[in-house]
Symmetry: C2
Subunit: 108 residues, 2 copies
DNA sequence: AAAAAATACCTTGACAGCCGAGGTATATCG
DNA sequence: CGATATACCTCGGCTGTCAAGGTATTTTTT
C-alpha cells in the first residue's frame, strides 16, 4: 500500500460527506468531483468509494435513492442526513486538531 | 477503532523518525517525548510503537543497539540511518501535499 | 517491609479500511 | 464494430493499529 493511501485513510467518509453537502450526488460524479476539487491529485478507488457508501448508509449518515434517468446508466443518488451533517462537523474539527498535532510532531 | 487512530495511521513512522532526528533515543522515551510535544494529545500505543520499530529497522531506516546502563531496566536505543533521513524528508513533503489536498476537499 | 506504580521491554491475534481484480450494463464516438 | 466513457457492484488480500497478555527492574507510597 502506498504512503498516500495510509495518509488519506480515514478521511474518505468526511470527504464524501463534504461533497454531498453541496447537494445530492451519485458515485461516479462524487468521484470526479473529488478529482476535480483536488486538481487531479486524488480520486478514490471505486471499491473504496462503494464500501464507504455502504458504511455511511448503514450508520444512518447518508440515504440513497435511484435517479429517474430515462436514458444512460442508472444512478444511485445519496443525500446527507442530519446525523451525517453532525458527523461532518465533528470530523472536520477532529481534522483541524490532528493536523496541528502532526505539524508539531514532524516540524523540523 | 477510534477516528483518531485512522487519521494518525500512516504517520507513526514519520513521527518516530522526527523524534530520532533530535538524537538517539529508546522506546519508552520516544513515547513520552511524543506525548510531551503534542501536549498530551497523542501517545502511541506500545504495540504500535514496537511494531513500527521492527518495520523501520527491517527496512534499514533505523538501527538499534543496547544501552549500557548499569542500573535500571535495559534500554534499546535507536538511531536514524541515511536512508531514514531521506524517507523523513519525503514523508514530510508528502504530508504537506496531502494536508493541502484534504483542506481543499473538506473546507466549507 | 509489603504493595503499588513507574520504567522498560516484547508478542499474538483480531479488526477495519483500502484496493486490485473481477464482474454487469448502457451510451457515445470514430 | 470496437473502443471508450458512464455507472453500478463484490470478493479477498494486505497492512497498520491496538487490546490483551507477558517479563523484569526500580522507585514511590502506604
Amino acid at each position: 500500500m502506498s504512503l498516500t493511501s495510509d495518509i488519506i485513510r480515514g478521511h474518505t467518509e468526511t470527504i464524501i460527506l463534504a461533497q454531498l453537502l453541496d447537494g445530492d450526488s451519485y458515485g461516479y460524479n462524487i468521484s470526479k468531483a473529488i478529482k476535480s476539487k483536488s486538481e487531479g491529485a486524488y480520486e478514490p478507488k471505486e471499491a473504496t468509494l462503494y464500501t464507504a457508501f455502504r458504511r455511511l448508509e448503514q450508520n444512518g449518515l447518508i440515504r440513497s435513492y435511484w435517479g429517474d434517468e430515462d436514458t444512460g446508466a442508472r444512478r444511485r443518488y445519496y443525500s446527507v442526513t442530519e446525523e451525517g451533517r453532525r458527523l461532518f462537523d465533528e470530523n472536520k474539527n477532529e481534522w483541524l486538531r490532528v493536523r496541528s498535532i502532526i505539524d508539531k510532531l514532524i516540524e523540523k
